[in-house]
């Protein structure tokens, strides 16, 4: 449904081709600066590729959750309603409340979004995406700046998205998270797509030296 053909971006991402299909959760793994964020932004259409083409043949919506959530200076509920309104959905109160409930934020619906904690704001970002019922959800290091308990809550919501049939595409450098949430791994190294494999296979038998070194090096912090 999402196809990248010979897509490159400046000197950050070397030309690569890949297809993202509905179903299995895709984790984009790589060290900082490997090009994960750029690849996600190309997929989501926030960046235009220098060369190549990105084609999206899904009929549904895409949504993206960033490493640091950007909340509007209004209530949590109003933040979700804003997303719904601009997706062409009027009178979305019920839908918005259901989304807040899903991420466990119904009790702070009327609180200003910016005074919520970091973990709550990230869950609110997920609620904003949830309300849109996206066909694919891009997550760019969604828990990189959160503590372990907030991270657990975010991961639970991501699992719920997956269970509800949303395709998950997540960038992370956290191997534990990749194992917990991913079905397949796309491994980037210095702007190149080095390896793509099912999660178990990637960790058990990495085919490239770069991937093996990354798994070995990162494991202590996973």
């Amino acid at each position: 449904m999402l196809r990248l053909q010979d897509v490159s971006f400046g000197s950050i991402l070397a030309p690569l081709s890949l297809e993202i299909v509905p179903g299995p959760s895709t984790v984009i793994l790589g060290a900082n600066g490997a090009g994960k964020s750029v690849l996600m932004r190309l997929m989501h259409g926030l960046l235009a590729p220098t060369t190549g083409r990105v084609t999206w043949s899904g009929g549904g919506r895409q949504a993206m959750v960033f490493q640091r959530p950007v909340m509007l200076r209004r209530s949590a509920l109003a933040n979700v309603l804003y997303a719904l309104k601009h997706a062409g959905i009027r009178n979305g109160e019920e839908q918005a409340m259901a989304a807040l409930k899903e991420v466990g934020l119904a009790h702070v619906a009327l609180r200003p979004a910016r005074v919520l904690s970091g973990g709550e704001q990230q869950r609110l970002a997920l609620a904003r995406a949830w309300a849109l019922h996206p066909e694919v959800l891009f997550l760019d290091e969604p828990t990189a700046s959160l503590d372990p308990s907030a991270t657990r809550e975010i991961e639970n919501v991501i699992r719920a998205f997956d269970a509800a049939g949303t395709k998950i595409v997540m960038a992370t450098h956290n191997l534990g998270q990749a194992r917990r949430l991913g079905d397949e791994v796309i491994y980037l190294h210095q702007g190149r797509l080095v390896e793509r494999a099912p999660v178990e296979e990637f960790f058990a038998r990495p085919r490239t030296a770069e991937a093996a070194a990354f798994i070995k090096g990162e494991l202590p912090w996973a």
Binding site: Q62, V70, R74, Y82, A87
Partner: protein, 228 residues
């Protein structure tokens, strides 16, 4: 206003308070009008990408230093009997003063707003684009979201309006009871040699500006605590 020689006594003069009220009416109206036009203009400049944008930004920044007497002269020519807007009969009325001050403050409103929205835009752009919000709706979203930061632009405009004498003197004429405001009264009393009265008026003017700034500061502080 009757003639006084000592400062505390003028505070009891209703004529003084009439002058203060007119000053506030003119300056606050001008600030309101300039913000209404200038803030959306600045927001669009901050978010939009079109040819000539850089030039407009430079001109706008330069116009922040527009000399009030020049604006006064231009408005005088516009509003004079033979001028293009002469039929409005605005010359030597508070309306003319509001008109001139609006022109003076407009570049300040637009330029400071552009800067504030541009800073906000850096934070919001990706999120808004991801939600499919572009162009004017995106600009207005950011403008509304940084509304507390815009207090600075409002205060800068108000400071400019309440302090200037050149424009209101030329288009208002400093007519006692009609178009006399604090700054023109101070200029007049100084040239008449009534320095204590001029000084007293100056103290009142500064006190009024200080009070408005304090109020704005408190509002902004409370809002930021409330909304984060």
């Amino acid at each position: 206003m009757t003639v006084h020689t000592d400062f505390p006594a003028i505070l009891l003069d209703p004529g003084l308070w009439q002058i203060v009220a007119l000053s506030l009416q003119v300056s606050l109206s001008a600030v309101f009008l300039a913000m209404t036009i200038g803030l959306p203009l600045g927001a669009v400049l901050a978010v939009g990408r079109f040819p000539g944008r850089g030039a407009i930004v430079v001109v706008l920044n330069a116009l922040m230093g527009l000399p009030p007497v020049v604006v006064g002269l231009a408005v005088y020519l516009l509003l004079s009997r033979a001028g293009p807007l002469g039929e409005l009969g605005l010359l030597f009325t508070p309306g003319a003063m509001i008109f001139a001050q609006t022109l003076l403050i407009l570049p300040i409103a637009a330029a400071l707003c552009r800067q504030a929205v541009e800073d906000g835009w850096r934070e919001y752009e990706e999120q808004l684009r991801s939600l499919g919000v572009h162009g004017l709706p995106a600009a207005l979203t950011v403008l509304w979201d940084i509304r507390f930061s815009l207090v600075t632009a409002v205060l800068a405009g108000l400071g400019r309006a309440s302090a200037e004498v050149g424009a209101v003197m030329i288009v208002g004429g400093n007519i006692d009871g009609v178009t006399r405001v604090m700054t023109t009264a101070i200029a007049l009393e100084t040239s008449k040699g009534d320095l204590p009265l001029a000084l007293g008026l100056g103290v009142v003017l500064i006190a009024v500006v200080l009070a408005l700034n304090t109020a704005a500061h408190l509002v902004r502080d409370a809002a930021q605590r409330r909304f984060g």
